[in-house]
Amino acid sequence: MASRPDPRRGRWLLAAWVTAAFALSALRDTRLLLLALLLLALLFRRGLWRNLWRTLRAVLPVTAGLSLASLAFLRLTGGEWPPLGPYAALALRTGAIGLLTCSVLDRVDLLRALAPYPAATRLLVVTLAQIHALRLLATDSRDGLRSRLPRRPGALDVVRNAGGITATLFALSARNARDIGEAMRSRGF
């Protein structure tokens, strides 16, 4: 059985992650950013390819799309291609912070790391449990809509259905909040 991450180490990692993310977000030198990426790859070798893939999927579409649009706009309005350095730095910066985030969160058990802060832990547990419960309902409703219609649901069908399911989601979330509150009170919180 794999050993569970040490909660104190988890807290240190989280603090280091936030500090490093802000520090990386201040960098704009391409060489420094490349060095930072290399260091991150060396530091977080376990699961590197998976985390690189997750990072690419998370940051590439927005960064590449906006960069291409901006390059085309500046070429059309200015008559020449703008320098590519800032675009490369932007891509490296978003990539480095993304890789750092994926790698750190892969190594931290958030609930155990937050154990010394009971209110934060309870809030996280309640929120995640509620997300799970409400998501099941939303997914069931979406599948129900698909099965009822002989064609693929259009935008208006989905918006109408979302309006309907929202009323149920509100009712369920209110009932769950009351139940959890009563359960907490009965346990002396």
Partner: protein, 211 residues
């Protein structure tokens, strides 16, 4: 619509935290400052609700899709500060568990999508609701989307203005890239959704939990 990590420098992201922090404290104290057994379940449930609404994808012409924001409903049913606090928690959960948005830009995203957008929608609804409730709800949804989009594009434009070498995309590009889909598709979808959802929520006799 999120600003991702790396697009905004600490010269902007840290002041945004300085603006957001007292508002988070005010929202928490004013709306959830009771015993934890009463406040935590309500915050958690409303946050989860906002999170799940944002996962509902709406197919739009052209084969792509947009997602609902939905946090305006919390502003209309509770208060804009409740919407701000819950949307901030949604963004935190997204950053911690799903790699969306990010921790350095959390305050900027929260101020734009959680406060300015819903606040503008709430104000529009209060102004127009005497004329027609449905029109007011549609307008609230549409306005909320446009203001949130403008705020995000404005933050990116300000970053470009402060340091074009850091963020090389001019305001014209970010504004066009974000505002065109928002004005034509996402805003209309959000407006329609707000009308359908709030009408049904009220028809179902939802009284909510005290927040």
């Amino acid at each position: 619509m999120h600003v991702p990590d790396g697009f905004i420098s600490p010269w902007l992201s840290l002041p945004a935290y300085a603006v957001a922090a007292p508002l988070w404290a005010l929202a928490a104290r004013r709306h959830f400052g009771r015993a934890s057994a009463e406040s935590l379940p309500v915050v958690g449930s409303l946050t989860a609700l906002a999170f799940v609404i944002q996962t509902i994808m709406i197919p739009v012409p052209g084969g792509t899709s947009t997602h609902l924001v939905g946090v305006l409903l919390l502003a209309l049913l509770y208060h804009p500060l409740v919407a701000f606090l819950c949307e901030s928690l949604v963004l935190l959960v997204q950053a911690l568990f799903f790699g969306a948005g990010g921790v350095t830009v959390l305050a900027i995203n929260a101020l734009a999508m959680g406060l300015l957008g819903p606040l503008a929608g709430w104000l529009a609804w209060r102004l127009v609701r005497r004329l027609s409730e449905r029109a007011a709800l549609f307008l609230a949804g549409w306005v909320s989307m446009q203001v949130a989009t403008l705020a995000v594009a404005g933050a990116l434009g300000l970053q470009h203005r402060l340091d074009p070498d850091y963020f090389p995309m001019p305001l014209a590009v970010t504004l066009t890239g974000m505002l065109v889909p928002s004005l034509t598709v996402a805003g209309v979808v959000e407006g329609l959704y707000t009308v359908f959802a709030l009408t049904l929520v009220r028809k179902a006799g939802f009284r909510g939990v005290e927040a």
